[in-house]
Amino acid sequence: MNPHLTWNLAADVRQLVEYRFMVNALLAASVVAVMAAVVGWFMVLRRETFAGHTLSMMSFPGAAAAALMGLPLAAGYFAFCTAGALVIAGASGVGGRRAPAQESAVIGTVGALALALGFLLLSVYGGVLESLESLLFGSILGVTRGQVLTLAIVAVCVLSLLALAGRPLLFASIDEPLARARRVPVGSLSVAFLLMLGLAVAATAQITGVLLVFALLVAPAGIARELTPRIDAGLALSVLLGLVIAWVGLGLSYFTNYSPGFYVSTIALVLYAGARVARSV
């Protein structure tokens, strides 16, 4: 039976959850969307979008290396993204005072290396690594229960850490000089946040593909901050938008058989443009 999009929403949802793989995909996307929305909100506030982008590139050589070594791809994603976070943190001197120019130079160099390394590992591997497209642009096929569980555990860890460190992190992000004077551990928080960002990106990349992480990481936070300057409302809105983008994107992909990445990023862009227009009028 081929799924058909109808005007009856209940019937559509029934069709959506008919297959096990789709339920898994929806669960995984929901977990990832919530985590990416919260981490992304802090990332946008801290102006570390470029770092987030580069970390997402790291999951490409990560996946290739895991395939080469016969490990689960997820292990490669997480290992390379967290390693990338540490490299960026160490090399750009995040532990000391923040030096934005140096930071972006390091990040750019790491990003280029990540892509090149990915292709190198891929050609060494020589075999079939899913398909390159689904690695880069995402696929909803073949999300397993185990994968969903792994993503959920990572999300719980990252979100708990953020809940614990949220306020000092906010302080250090908005007002670093005063936070430093008040003995908030600004340097450690920077490193910790980059690690959380690495984990969130690695998890998101497994669902959206390496290149489209941003639809779930930046767009919800970007839209939320256009709509409200409040912190609590901004975070809540960001999560809500992340879920809506993920669900609608996956749903449309299911019914039309095109890549979810296309829908997810298109919806994100449309909502973002809408928010900008709404704010300016």
Binding site: P168, L170, I174, L178, I231
Partner: protein, 290 residues
């Protein structure tokens, strides 16, 4: 070091203090005695070590020689009773965080965890926190724009919000690093008057670093002038004179009094060129003729 007799416990005591950074002596032989509830301005050219003096008082930098006591204890021990406003923080237009949230971070930014939604309904502490934030904002007259994103506030509005942030813990002392910088003249006078009002009404000791003494003249009790590696302390009339400043700079400097009472310092030598690591946040030399 002439000075007004300080009654009671001094809020700040610095004895024969000297500071070295990166192998260079920033200042030496500095004595400073500030009483509770005094309003003292710290003046001097760029690179004279004004901000670093504040960092010493906050326990962020160590003296090379001499003694320091702040609020009856070693520097840094009583920082939660000090409201500090670091130098030149500008929130650009893209900072989409409300002023009230920035003020609130002054109160709870160090606490771990996040405030729960609806906490005000269940927790007395959350209610009192909210009350303190509202009071501080009202005190600086920022209630009208505290709900706006701080990046969209003018320089004067941002500065008032930052003073509210320094005030929110009900501090015994305010340490303000160039709060008048980048403000137009009416706003400079407004902020100076506001700070004096807080100082008088609540007996809060105030140390305020400034480039120009004129907007402060009607309000300050005493000034500490840092130049040439040394300091002079006293009332503005005692310190900002041709003799005292020439002595500090080791070069002839003339102080002129304009008809409206403004003091103009003429012939102030440029700040020495500095090599090697600089700790202070002061940026390159500026025209210092005022």
């Amino acid at each position: 070091m002439t000075g007004i007799a300080v009654d009671g416990e001094p809020a700040i005591e610095l004895r024969d203090a000297s500071l070295r950074l990166g192998g260079r002596t920033i200042w030496s032989g500095v004595d400073l005695l500030v009483g509770e509830g005094e309003f003292v301005a710290i003046l001097g050219p760029n690179g004279a070590g004004k901000s670093t003096l504040l960092e010493v008082l906050l326990g962020l930098l160590e003296l090379a020689h001499g003694e320091v006591a702040v609020l009856g204890g070693p520097a840094g021990s009583g920082n939660e009773r000090i409201g500090y406003l670091p130098q030149r923080r500008v929130f650009d237009a893209s900072t989409r965080v409300r002023g009230i949230d920035v003020v609130r971070l002054g109160l709870d930014g160090r606490r771990w965890g996040v405030p729960l939604p609806l906490a005000g309904r269940f927790s007395a502490r959350a209610r009192s926190d909210r009350e303190l934030v509202a009071q501080a904002i009202e005190q600086v007259g920022a209630s009208a724009y505290a709900g706006r994103p701080i990046g969209e506030c003018s320089g004067g509005e941002q500065q008032r919000l930052l003073i509210a942030q320094a005030l929110v813990q009900s501090p015994r002392m305010l340490i303000l690093d160039e709060p008048l910088d980048g403000l137009d003249l009416p706003n400079q006078a407004g902020v100076a008057a506001l700070v004096q009002g807080i100082c008088r009404a609540q007996g809060v000791t105030v140390l305020l670093v400034a480039h120009d003494v004129n907007p402060l003249l009607p309000y300050v009790d005493r000034v500490l002038y840092l130049a040439g590696g040394h300091a002079a302390m006293g009332t503005p009339e005692q310190v900002i004179t041709s003799e005292t400043l020439s002595g500090l700079y080791g070069a002839p400097v003339e102080v002129l009094k304009a008809r409206d009472g403004r003091l103009v310092v003429v012939g102030e030598p440029e700040a020495p060129h500095q090599h090697g690591p600089r700790h202070g946040h002061e940026h390159g030399p500026r025209h210092v003729l005022r």
